[in-house]
Assembly symmetry: C2
Homo-oligomer: 319 residues x 2
Amino acid sequence: MEKYLVTGFSGFVSFHFLSYLESLAIQVVVLGIDINEPDFDYHVFLHVKCHFNSIDLLNKSQIDHVIYDFQPSYILHLASYSSVAFSWKHPVTSFSNNTNIFLNLLEQVRSLNLNCRILSIGSSEEYGNVIESDMPLREEHVLKPVSPYAVARVSQEMLSKIYVDGYKLDIVLTRSFNHIGPGQKEIFVISSFARQLAEIKKYNKPAFIIAGDLSIIRDFLDVRDVVVAYYQLFKKGVSGEVYNICSGNGVSLAFIIKSMATYLGLEIVTHVNQDLIRPNDNKIIIGSNLKIKNATGWDLGYSLDKSLEDIINFWLKKI
Amino acid sequence: MEKYLVTGFSGFVSFHFLSYLESLAIQVVVLGIDINEPDFDYHVFLHVKCHFNSIDLLNKSQIDHVIYDFQPSYILHLASYSSVAFSWKHPVTSFSNNTNIFLNLLEQVRSLNLNCRILSIGSSEEYGNVIESDMPLREEHVLKPVSPYAVARVSQEMLSKIYVDGYKLDIVLTRSFNHIGPGQKEIFVISSFARQLAEIKKYNKPAFIIAGDLSIIRDFLDVRDVVVAYYQLFKKGVSGEVYNICSGNGVSLAFIIKSMATYLGLEIVTHVNQDLIRPNDNKIIIGSNLKIKNATGWDLGYSLDKSLEDIINFWLKKI
């Protein structure tokens, strides 16, 4: 039986990955590890047998024990200190912890000589400063990371290639673009807008939203498409290769707010708060997903409209 | 008075940097830090007032105290775990220690808001796999590091740019090519050949040398030219910019052995030991030094012949 070790188990991506495994109706075993308890019930799945271990990935001996005992066939490494803002406040913590937790995993797989595929999750942040004519970003585009978080991600990628070429580990890499979907925390911009709109609708609150620069364009895709991509890369990705996980389409934040408002039958006024504008933000980020499509046959299953509706409905139900 | 903090003080580059400062006949203060005691006498200088502190750069509180007390105007960061071979045996130690000692320095300079220029020493290893038509390597060439050590160096460079752009630190970066010169340890290939040749000459030993691939071509320059480049970059380098430190010329190891043998009046036979051939070694590495020349006026002061003679004479005297 296939055995998946999932780090960052308590997060939103992990939940959707488990749901996707469940939808395949094959028997698999998942060991989730995270420093925090998950707030979803992982015992509800019929086909996916889930266990959870609360451990700190910085604790190498804990990691070593878990991997030795579980002997995973796949490691989905979702855990990270993924906030760019946090990384500016705590650059060393962000850089060191992100690279150290990754190296802790790799070293134990190497020392046990495990036959195990690792999916190393990277970020579109790795591209750094880009200009409109660079779009859509392809994987061979030069990386110019502009935050401590992004530097950690590029380092993780470089280290992965060393472990693949030098130690023959089986590692597939991603650069994942902006995820959206039901269940995402509201520290993320789309989820935050959706919650505000749902509250305006449900409680007849004043129809305005305070935001930063709404003209910026990003490549959003549904987390439920992301996890299918991850599964496909486990099965068909090439070790040492990096794949963009993205929709290939760019939309502005203004367009997304308008779409969600229309769905709710609202007329929304947006107020720009200058303090929310990040001076060095790229105006536009769009990725190319040709490589993963060609390698695995993966494609988008969720339209942007469908994603936004599900997010809105998630909040309407939750608030 | 100018105050230099020199990490990796006990090494061969540091000694030559001190000698160069002395040659300028201006009063400067140097605080050297290293985990090992230097084996040279740093009290011999008249103009350069040297102090030494034995500390471990991984110990952040020690570093913090030293920088706080000394308040350097310049930091020459020579300390590193610089062996590629070691990095393959201990990838995590090599990566983490190299990046951590660097971050420990940067963080204290940042937290004290010191008016201090840092010279971050990188390596030609950062370029990684290159092909002959890429020569001479210019600074904008893509970096494809192929060892844990090289990844650490590229990470150090990326982190430097973050600290320059994000926190306004004053950091100038180098990619230094193969140093040679009197006093270099014999774990380095040219120094090792020179010692063997000096012994053959002095003790009439059999005139053969066992070596790896002697056809590989590298860009060697004299350490005494390297340290002038470092000084020039302290004075005229641009913060956030990276500069190759190299001769711009490529010579084969075979040519160097022949040159040194000719100087000693020896006919040498070389035996190739396959075990000494590293399979992934680049055949040829040559850098372009136009950028540092244009920025600082720096140029080579030592011919290859002069360097090799001085190295041979160093060993003839020492053995």
